[in-house]
Structures are given as structure tokens and as C-alpha cells.
């Protein structure tokens, strides 16, 4: 995995329509809402353009002639206009909000669905943090930019067009004078908005560096103290905060420059209107009201330009987020059921269980080779035949290939060459769901989900009754400690099971595995040290769980596997020793060595 692959890429300079088409595809589902939104945005812009005309009316009809006849109907019109505008505002905000939420929801859902289908090779090469960022901040950003982007663009363009239209209708010469600064205004706005966003992007990057430094500074504080690295660390940190200060000020200067420049430019338009329009008033070509109207329009014009420029710049920035999210959604799956298999056995979301054969538990590796995506070869022409009900123990160093064998059995990976048969049939001819429903799996580092203990055990069998859950817990010696909690089975385990000890988590994960009554049992045994009593309980649980099932145990504590039917010592993807515990001890080879070494260490711990 290359280092830079998962760093946030700088955004591409050009708008890539292909990416945005894919994103806008989600928008089509909400056509109606979008049409409503556009309609009300145009209304909003229209009302915005009409308000200055009310001032014009007031001046020309009442103030200049010194007359108040018809004021009532003017007031009424003004009131209606206000109500109309308030409605526009309410509807546009709530509609845009609805679109935003729907989009975010849809994109997240599709990405999550995809994540449930992607194989482990994807997870191997993609850090969890990267996926999290796509699922949370990137999707939120896309939802925001699309819905509120529509708002600003539609409003901005319609307001510009409407005002331009009104101005031309009133007086072409003045209209052209006012609009003369628009091109410069537009170019400057786009330039500055881009610069501003870029500058803030730098700030955000440094900010996450600061967070990282704080996080390490806190977690590593004791290490720093012991090695007296305080000064060096503080100096390094100060460099980052100075950098932050510099970049933040730079970003502020850009935005602080933008507003005055643009204001001055539009004041040129106002100045021109005052000069030329004033003359027209003197000559009687236009009224006072119209002069004031043009002054208002000249003041108003720069705002839609600024908004549109901002949205364009934001779209450019959000493109990187869009690319990343789309790359996740479009990621190709490499382990999936063929169409034929899906037709017969159903999909993972809609399994056709009535077509499922019973799984007995014979497993055969036939000339299986496996290499990881990065080219590392782990197994080469590996053969293994396991009869139903046999217990197999796998022993070997990290990287010897024992985990790979288990992952292949679970079809977390598929062989690159050769095939694996279950009950005499290539397992790719049956569905993944069928296999997984029949596998019980207990992990080295047991992973629980937040929720109650009961929820976690039920995970193994969704329709389990309370009695079944208690029975499963009893079987694996978990019932007792569960009952010691004041809320027993309703105890919240916390995020990732954090409120329980490792040993407790392990026992619950055994209960979770046993409740589904699996035909194949896989146990990636724990290395973590737990107290002797719990260890004994776990040992006992393991023995019960393995009975009558085809089982694979990746053993670290060799005492666990003394009773296995077959112990395989794996080295560099090959079986170097095989037999029962007694046979292997007699052989006085690798296994004998490992076993005696461990015995000593354990004996000491038990002292």
C-alpha cells in the first residue's frame, strides 16, 4: 500500500462532468422537489427585484407630487409582497433542506450497502479512517453543496437576469452603464472566491495536523516525560501553530481584500448612475424614483455575482469529495455469487433458504494457491481434506499462512488457483450466505456491537428466544458473570463492548457463535493474557463448542488444542508436521519445542 494513496488528494482544477453526472443521478429521484425549489427560488429573486420598485412607486406617485391618495392600496400591495416573500423563504429553505437530507441519506445508504458487499481484500488495503471520512464528512458535504448550490445558482442567475431585464425596460443607457462593471466584477469574484477557498483549505489541513499533534502529545505524554522530549515536542508543535497563524491570516486577508474591492467596483456603477441618471432627471428623461431604483439595483447586483462565484468555487472543491465517494460506490467486488447461484440460492439480502442444501462439514482444499492483491504469495498448491466433525488445530508463526487457510474456508477470500469443496461441491457454486449462515466464528479480539448483552448474543440467531439466549450463555459459562451485573442480560456493553473485560467479551462472543448451531466452527484464539480462572472457563467453553462440529482452531495457547483430532504445524504456507498431540510430542520437532517453551511461561504465570 503506497503512503500517498489515501492522503486527501488536491482537487482537480477542471470540473469533471462524468463525476457530477453520477452524483446528479441521485437528484433525479427528487425531480418534483427540485422543480418546486427552482420555482420558489425564481419567485424569491423576482420579489427581491420588485422591492426597489416599490420605493420607486412611493417616490414617483406620492413623495414627489406630494400626494397621499391611493396610499392604502400601496400599503396593501406592500403587505402582500412581504407575505409572498416570507412564504418563498420558508418554502425554499425547507425544500432545500429536504433535498439535502434525502441526498445525504441516499448516498450514504448506497455506499453502506456497497461496504457490506466488498471483500476483505478491500478492507485490507483501505484504512477504516478513510472509509469513515467518506461515509460522514464527504457525503454530508455533497448533500449540502448540491442542494444549497442549486439554491444559490438559481437565485443568483435569475436575480441577475430579472434585474437586467427591468433596467433595460426602464432605460437602456443607464442599464448599460450599470452593467458595464459586471464583467470585471464577475472575473474578480471568481478569482477571489477560488483563492479564498484554497486558502481556507490549507488552514483546514493544518488544523487537522494540530489535532493529530495534540492527540499524540496527550497519548504519548508519559513517553515524552520519561525521555525528556518536552522541549523538542513543544518546538515542533510551535512550528505548526505558527504555520497555522500565518495561513489563517493569509486566508483572512484574501477575504478581507475581496469585499472592499468589489464594493468599490460597484460604487463605480453607483457613481455612474448618479452622474448620468442625475442628468437624465434634470432633463426630465427619467423620474426621481427611477434614479433611486437604478442606485438600488447597482448596489444589489454584486451579491448574486458573489454567490454564483462562490458556488462555482465550492463545486470545484467538492469534486474531490465526489470522486472519493463515487470511487467507493463504484469499487469492484471481487467475491460475489454468480447470477446462476443467485437465482437458485438468493442474494444476501433476499436469501432463498428453501433451496439451501444442508451443510454437513466435509472440507477439501484442492491444489489451492493464494496470493494477496499486493502479490505476496501465502499458499501454494495446498491440499487438505477434513472430514465432517473433525477438529483441526493450526499452529505456526504469524505470517505462516494459518489465518489465510481459515479466511479461505470462510470465503472471506477465494483461492487464486485451485478450489475448495464443501461436502464435495466447489463452494463457489453455493451462495456466500449459505456458507456464512452455517459458520460459527470467534475472533482473536472479540468484537461486540453497542447494545445489550442479549442483543449481542442474539446476533448469532436473530429469532432466538430469551430461553435460547440464556441456554447459550450457560453453555459457554457466561451466564454466571452476566447475572452478576445489576441489569443482567440487559446490561449495555458500550461502544465496541468497551465496558466489559476481554475475557467477558470472549465468552459472549462464544455464546453468539454457539447459538446459531453452526456446522463449521472457526476459532481464532486469543493471545491476550487473562486471569487463570477466566482462562479455564474459556477452555471449557471451547471444548463444548467444538463437539460434533467440523472445527478449525488457530491456536496460540497450545494447551487449548491438546485434544484436537489433528494438529497441523504450518510454516511458510506448508504443513510441516501433522498428527495428534501425543504423536507430535513424540516426534520432538517444532511442535514439541513450541509446547515446552509455552509450558514454562504459563507455569510461571500460574505461580
Amino acid at each position: 500500500m503506497s503512503d500517498y494513496e489515501f492522503q486527501e488528494q488536491d482537487y482537480s482544477k477542471k470540473i469533471d462532468m462524468k463525476i457530477w453526472k453520477k452524483i446528479f443521478k441521485y437528484l433525479i429521484r427528487y425531480k418534483k422537489l427540485v422543480i418546486i425549489l427552482i420555482f420558489f427560488m425564481i419567485n424569491l429573486a423576482l420579489a427581491d427585484a420588485i422591492f426597489p420598485q416599490m420605493t420607486q412607486r412611493a417616490i414617483d406617485d406620492f413623495i414627489v407630487p406630494g400626494n397621499i391618495e391611493g396610499l392604502e392600496s400601496f400599503i396593501l400591495k406592500f403587505c402582500l409582497l412581504i407575505i409572498w416573500q416570507s412564504i418563498n423563504i420558508f418554502i425554499f429553505i425547507s425544500t432545500a433542506g429536504k433535498i439535502e437530507m434525502n441526498l445525504t441519506y441516499d448516498i450514504r445508504e448506497e455506499a453502506f450497502d456497497k461496504l457490506q458487499k466488498l471483500s476483505f481484500s478491500y478492507y485490507d488495503r483501505t484504512p477504516t479512517g478513510w472509509i469513515m471520512a467518506r461515509m460522514t464528512s464527504d457525503t454530508r458535504r455533497l448533500g449540502e453543496i448540491i442542494s444549497w448550490g442549486i439554491v444559490d445558482i438559481v437565485w443568483g442567475f435569475s436575480l441577475m437576469i430579472i434585474i437586467a431585464g427591468f433596467m433595460i425596460a426602464y432605460n437602456l443607457r443607464l442599464a448599460l452603464l450599470t452593467l458595464s462593471v459586471v464583467p470585471v466584477l464577475a472575473i474578480l469574484s471568481i478569482y477571489f472566491q477560488k483563492k479564498i477557498l484554497e486558502a481556507y483549505r490549507v488552514v483546514r489541513k493544518i488544523n487537522s495536523k494540530i489535532t493529530g499533534s495534540f492527540s499524540e502529545g496527550i497519548s504519548g505524554a508519559i513517553t515524552t516525560k520519561v525521555l525528556v522530549g518536552e522541549e523538542k515536542h513543544l518546538n515542533e508543535f510551535k512550528e505548526i501553530t505558527s504555520d497555522m497563524k500565518r495561513s489563517s491570516i493569509r486566508a483572512v486577508i484574501f477575504s478581507a481584500l475581496f469585499l472592499p474591492i468589489v464594493l468599490t467596483l460597484s460604487s463605480v456603477a453607483i457613481g455612474l448612475v448618479v452622474w448620468s441618471g442625475g442628468n437624465s432627471v434634470i432633463q426630465g428623461v427619467i423620474t426621481y424614483g427611477t434614479l433611486v431604483l437604478f442606485i438600488s439595483y447597482a448596489t444589489q447586483y454584486f451579491e448574486p455575482i458573489r454567490e454564483v462565484a462562490r458556488v462555482i468555487a465550492e463545486f470545484q472543491q467538492a469534486q474531490a469529495a465526489a470522486e472519493r465517494v463515487i470511487s467507493l460506490i463504484d469499487e469492484e467486488m471481487d467475491i460475489y455469487d454468480t447470477i446462476e447461484v443467485q437465482e437458485k440460492y438468493g442474494t444476501i439480502l433476499e436469501p432463498k433458504k428453501f433451496n439451501w442444501e444442508e451443510l454437513k462439514g466435509d472440507i477439501d482444499f484442492k491444489n489451492v494457491s493464494f496470493r494477496y492483491k499486493n502479490g505476496e504469495e501465502v499458499l501454494k498448491s495446498f491440499n487438505l481434506s477434513v472430514k465432517q466433525g473433525q477438529s483441526i488445530a493450526l499452529v505456526g508463526e504469524t505470517g505462516s499462512g494459518k489465518s489465510t487457510i481459515v479466511n479461505l474456508i470462510c470465503r472471506f477470500y477465494e483461492p487464486t488457483e485451485g478450489l475448495i469443496e464443501i461436502d464435495g461441491v466447489d463452494y463457489r457454486k453455493r451462495s456466500i450466505a449459505w456458507l456464512h449462515e452455517n459458520i460459527g466464528y470467534v475472533l482473536q479480539a472479540p468484537h461486540l456491537f453497542s447494545g445489550t448483552i442479549e442483543d449481542n448474543i442474539r446476533y448469532g440467531k436473530l429469532d432466538a428466544t430469551a430461553a435460547e439466549i440464556i441456554e447459550a450463555a450457560r453453555l459457554v459459562n457466561a451466564h454466571e458473570f452476566i447475572m452478576k451485573f445489576p441489569e443482567s442480560y440487559q446490561t449495555q456493553v458500550g461502544e465496541g463492548g468497551g465496558k466489559l473485560s476481554t475475557g467477558e467479551k470472549q465468552l459472549i462472543s462464544f455464546a453468539r457463535a454457539i447459538i446459531s448451531d453452526p456446522r463449521i466452527f472457526v476459532l481464532d484464539e486469543a493471545t491476550s493474557s487473562i486471569d487463570t480462572q477466566t482462562e479455564r472457563m474459556i477452555q471449557d467453553a471451547i471444548e463444548k463448542v467444538l463437539q460434533g462440529r467440523t472445527s478449525f482452531v488457530i491456536a496460540h495457547r497450545l494447551s487449548t488444542i491438546v485434544n484436537s483430532d489433528r494438529i497441523l504445524v504450518i510454516e511458510k504456507g506448508e504443513v510441516v508436521e501433522e498428527g495428534t498431540h501425543d504423536e507430535l510430542m513424540e516426534l520432538k520437532g517444532h511442535y514439541h519445542n513450541l509446547y515446552t517453551n509455552q509450558y514454562r511461561e504459563n507455569a510461571f504465570k500460574a505461580l
Binding site: D3, Q7, S94, G97, L234, S267, L272
Partner: protein
């Protein structure tokens, strides 16, 4: 106002800049409000024929042909607008720039101080602290304060200047019109203030829903293996959908509240403009004010409404800034390690004497982990400590490095009580390798070269002694490999060996290993100790271990049980004792 004290205190080095920024803000607001006045003059006195109140204008008009001149040269008015706007812009820029400089400097100082403080806090604090909470204070609370000082404070200043200056100009024209213009503004302000206080709850609900959604995703990603192995994809998708929906709904509710707010607030604002317009019509009809004056009022009204709305919102946020500054101050008020007057920096050679040392950890002060412990280590000797988990072994090292101070008795190094030695000076002479080392997400080289600047050769040398050189060389980028999420994941044993190399790269007269080879196999353990004793001959070494193989060749072996030394001597002597040590030896070395 007392609550604002801390914020004021944070500002102390930048108050001058702030004051200047606020003054410039006032100047810019003043100039911005002049534009409508210029328009008024042009309309009333240049185009129209009314006398002006302004002396300068009066004089121009009263000059012979003056009136005709300005009438035919209206560009003067236009130019005046441009110049005034440019000056307004200039001061706005200066004000923003100054306040950014000040607030960013404050933010930097707070960050640096918090970081420094965290590093200086005692060992005991870090052992028990809540990392997440500390991190949040250091990052998001600082950000809240920064935002307040950089943006919100200036906005408040702007709004106040705007109201005051506009009021002044308006009152000059007509107090009746001023009432019409201002009568609705308190409602707009209070409506915003109350709304944003009330809606904070909805913001919180939305945030919490988002956090729950994140947790579901996070747990799914971490538990992928479990999900797959149990074929629970559908179940997970349902669970996710529920949270996804709940977030969308709660956030939509919040947006809807905001939609109510903006439409109502806009309604009142527009009504306020309508009021100005209609009363303007009325008062001109009564002959009280001029057309130009109405233009001024309308333009002022438009300019006033936005800052007044913002003001309500900002003031409702003020509470957050105060809470955040309190939370930051709490860290800064925490006790830190500092040098005392009696502490000196004597030469440290390596003779260690523990005299009747007793100690209990502060969080469990009833349980003595060391109970009147005495022993002597001569310079260059190796002393090994062996005993059960929880027997108090590690505390010996904690005390030696003054991570804690003894409760009773004393520890002497070269005849000096370590209470009289500066902590950092002491630690600079004792190389402590912790049981659970923390590696920083830097390159391996930078990790080894942690607190000093050593040559490449001494880095390699240290790595070789720690038996980790070959492992590092096998990485694609060798010593430049990044450690952590973005780089390689190291095994427990590799981490421990790197931590040893990190210590050995410096020349310490005293080394202390706190069970730091527990995850390394026996052979590597031996190799490391052999390399150590060969190359670093006159170093006093402390080894704490649970393995007899790691301790048997020490000059002096101490067996610690329940805070007391129960056996001491060389391997041969202890074997002859036939006590605890021999029992372990028999089991482990059989």
C-alpha cells in the same frame, strides 16, 4: 460580565491591536453610512433646489454660477461616492486584518500553552486522564474561543457602531422618522436571540443523531469479520438505515425551524422597511422632510437590519465561548511539574541507594506498593527485580525517575537525595524504557532520534543493540518507514525493541527496563542483553522482568513480594536459598 474575564485575560497581549481594529471598524462604518448622505445631497441640492444643511455644499451652491456648475457636473457626486466607498473599504480591510492578526495570535498562544501544559503535567495526571475530553478541550474549545474573538466580537462591534452612527445621522434629519425606522428593530433582535437559544437543543439533537450514525458505521467497519461470518449484512443494513433516517429526520426538523426563523425574521425586516417608506410618504406630505432624506432612511434601514439580526445570534452564542474558555482555563490551572529552589543539577555517575523507601500510588493510597525497601546499586552494576504482577516492581522505576516522589525514606544517586535534583535533569541521566511504549506517527528514524539529534550511525548502532536493525532494513523504506496508521503496523515485540533503541541512542549513565522485553522471545532477549553489556560497560542497569532467563546473570537480584524485598543476592546465592527464586527457576528453566 465577570464571566468574560477569562476571555479578556486571553486577549492580554493583543488588546492594542483589538482596540485599533475596533476603531478602524468604527471609521469604516462611518464612511459606509456617508454614501446615502451624498446621494441625498445630489438629489435634494444638486438636482433639486433645496438648500443644504451642509456648510461646504451651501458655499459651493452660493458661489456665482456654483449651482449651475454642480448641476452640469454631477460627476462630482458620483466621484464622491466612489472615493467614500474606497475609504470605507480600506478601513474595513485594515480592521479585519488587524483583528485576524490579533485573534490568530491569541489562538496560537492558547494552543502552545495548552500543549506545553499537558506535557508538563505529572505522570499521575496522565495515568488517569480522559484522553478524549482533553483532546476536545485542546481543539474544539480553542476553536470556539478563536471564532468568538476573530469574527463574533468584531460583528458585535460593527453592529453597535452601525446603530449608534446611523441613529446620529437619522436624528439629525428627523426624530419622527427615526422612531419609524427603529421601532421594529428590538423585536428583530430579541426574536433572533431567543430563537437561537431555543434552537440550540435541536442542534444538539441533530449532532447526537449524527454521532450515533457514525458509531454504527464505525462498529460495522471494525466488526466486518463478525458481520460476514454471521451473514448479518441485511441486519446491519437495517440498523444503519434506522440511524441514517433518524439523522436525516432530526436534521430536517432543525432546518425547518431555521426556515421558520428566516421567514419570520425577513417578514419583520421587510415590514420595517415598509414602515419607513409609508411614514416617509406621510412626513413629506406634511412637508417635514425631503425626498433625499427618505432615500437616506431607506438605505440605512437596509444596512441596519442585517447586523441587528446577527447580533441576536451572536449573543446567543456567547455562552458557548465562555464555557469553552473556562474549560481551557481548567487545563491551564492544573498542577504541573516545575523546578523547586532546592533542586540542583549535580553530576550523575550511577550509584543508587534506596533507603527505607515506602510508597503508595495516590489513587490507592491505602495499599503500600513499597514498604521500607532498602538496597544499593554500585556504578556499573546490574540489578534485576523479579516478582509477581502487582508486587510493586514498576514503582521502583517510577520513583527513580521521579515520576512520583517517595512517601517515606529517600533515594540517593551518588550521595545526593533525588528530591534535590531537577526532574528533567534526573531523567536526562536515566534511560527508562516503559512497559507499554508509545511510538509517534513519524518515521522510524525520527522515533529513535526522539529527544536528541544523533548521527545516522548512532541510530543504527542503537537499533542493532536492540536487535531491531534487521527488521527495519526489511521494510521497503527502511528507517524512513512511517509508524502507525499511515505506515507499518508493528508487533508488540517490535515496538518494545524500537523503544529500547530509542533509549539507547542516548548515553545514559543509568538504564532502567520496566519489563520492556515481555513481548520479545527469550533468544532475542538474551541477544539484546549481551549486546548491551558488551558495549555499555560502566552503565548502571535496572532490569524488571518476570522471566528468570532475563535476570539470572545480574550482579544483584531482588525478589519483591507485597512491597517488600524477600530475597536478594546473586543467582547462586538465591538458588542456595531454595526460596521463591528457585521455584521460578525450576519451573521456567526445567
Amino acid at each position: 460580565m465577570k464571566k468574560l474575564n477569562k476571555l479578556w485575560h486571553f486577549m492580554r497581549n493583543n488588546r492594542g491591536k483589538y482596540i485599533l481594529a475596533i476603531i478602524f471598524m468604527g471609521v469604516s462604518v462611518g464612511f459606509s453610512l456617508m454614501v446615502p448622505v451624498i446621494i441625498q445631497m445630489v438629489v435634494d441640492s444638486f438636482i433639486g433646489e433645496l438648500p443644504s444643511d451642509h456648510l461646504l455644499i451651501q458655499r459651493i451652491i452660493q458661489m456665482p454660477g456654483g449651482r449651475e456648475y454642480v448641476r452640469s457636473n454631477l460627476w462630482i457626486g458620483g466621484l464622491a461616492i466612489i472615493v467614500v466607498t474606497a475609504i470605507y473599504g480600506l478601513f474595513l480591510f485594515l480592521s479585519n486584518r488587524l483583528s485576524a492578526e490579533a485573534s490568530e495570535d491569541i489562538a496560537k498562544n492558547i494552543r502552545d500553552r495548552v500543549y506545553d501544559h499537558i506535557q508538563q503535567m505529572p505522570f499521575d495526571y496522565h495515568k488517569n486522564s480522559d484522553t478524549g475530553d482533553l483532546l476536545q478541550r485542546a481543539t474544539s474549545d480553542v476553536e470556539t474561543v478563536r471564532r468568538f474573538l476573530s469574527i463574533q466580537l468584531m460583528e458585535v462591534g460593527r453592529a453597535i457602531f452601525m446603530v449608534v452612527i446611523a441613529l446620529y445621522f437619522m436624528l439629525q434629519i428627523s426624530w419622527k422618522m427615526t422612531i419609524a425606522a427603529m421601532i421594529l428593530t428590538p423585536i428583530i433582535f430579541f426574536f433572533g436571540y431567543i430563537f437561537f437559544i431555543k434552537v440550540q437543543k435541536a442542534f444538539k439533537i441533530s449532532d447526537e443523531a449524527e454521532a450515533e450514525l457514525s458509531t454504527v458505521i464505525q462498529e460495522n467497519l471494525h466488526g466486518t469479520r463478525v458481520v460476514r461470518a454471521f451473514a448479518r449484512e441485511k441486519f446491519e443494513i437495517e440498523k444503519f438505515k434506522e440511524k441514517n433516517k433518524s439523522y436525516a429526520e432530526k436534521t430536517y426538523r432543525l432546518i425547518k425551524y431555521l426556515a421558520y426563523y428566516w421567514s419570520i425574521s425577513d417578514f419583520i425586516s421587510l415590514a420595517s422597511i415598509g414602515l419607513v417608506l409609508v411614514s416617509g410618504v406621510y412626513f413629506t406630505y406634511m412637508g417635514e422632510i425631503t425626498l433625499g432624506a427618505i432615500i437616506v432612511f431607506i438605505q440605512y434601514e437596509y444596512r441596519l437590519l442585517w447586523p441587528i439580526r446577527q447580533l441576536g445570534r451572536i449573543l446567543s452564542d456567547l455562552g458557548k465561548a465562555i464555557v469553552s474558555s473556562d474549560r481551557i482555563q481548567e487545563i491551564l490551572d492544573g498542577e504541573i511539574e516545575s523546578d523547586q529552589e532546592n533542586e540542583t543539577t549535580p553530576e550523575i555517575k550511577g550509584e543508587i541507594v534506596f533507603e527505607n523507601v515506602s510508597f503508595a500510588y495516590p489513587d490507592n493510597f491505602e495499599r503500600k506498593v513499597l514498604d521500607h525497601v532498602s538496597f544499593t546499586v554500585k556504578k556499573g552494576q546490574t540489578v534485576a527485580v523479579i516478582g509477581r504482577t502487582g508486587s510493586g516492581k514498576s514503582s521502583l522505576i517510577h520513583l527513580l525517575g521521579r515520576l512520583y516522589d517517595v512517601d517515606d525514606g529517600r533515594i540517593m544517586i551518588d550521595g545526593v537525595d533525588i528530591k534535590n535534583i531537577q526532574k528533567k535533569w534526573l531523567r536526562k541521566h536515566i534511560g527508562i524504557v516503559l512497559q507499554e511504549p508509545f511510538l509517534f506517527s513519524k518515521t522510524i528514524k525520527d522515533n529513535i532520534n526522539f529527544s536528541s539529534r544523533q548521527s545516522e550511525n548512532s541510530i543504527y548502532e542503537a537499533a542493532k543493540i536492540a536487535s531491531v536493525h534487521e527488521v527495519i532494513e526489511e521494510f521497503e523504506k527502511g528507517y524512513n518507514t512511517l509508524v502507525g496508521e499511515k505506515g507499518v503496523t508493528l508487533s508488540g515485540g517490535q515496538k518494545q525493541r524500537l523503544a529500547i533503541a530509542r533509549t539507547l541512542v542516548n548515553d545514559y549513565p543509568i538504564l532502567a527496563f520496566d519489563d520492556s522485553l515481555s513481548a520479545v522471545d527469550t533468544e532475542t532477549d538474551l541477544a539484546i542483553r549481551k549486546a548491551l553489556s558488551e558495549r555499555k560497560k560502566d552503565i548502571t542497569t535496572f532490569i524488571i522482568s518476570h522471566r528468570v532467563a532475563s535476570v539470572y546473570d545480574a550482579d544483584n537480584i531482588l525478589v519483591v513480594e507485597d512491597g517488600k524485598i524477600t530475597e536478594r543476592g546473586t543467582h547462586a546465592e538465591l538458588m542456595a536459598l531454595r526460596g521463591y527464586y528457585k521455584r521460578i527457576w525450576d519451573i521456567q528453566m526445567a
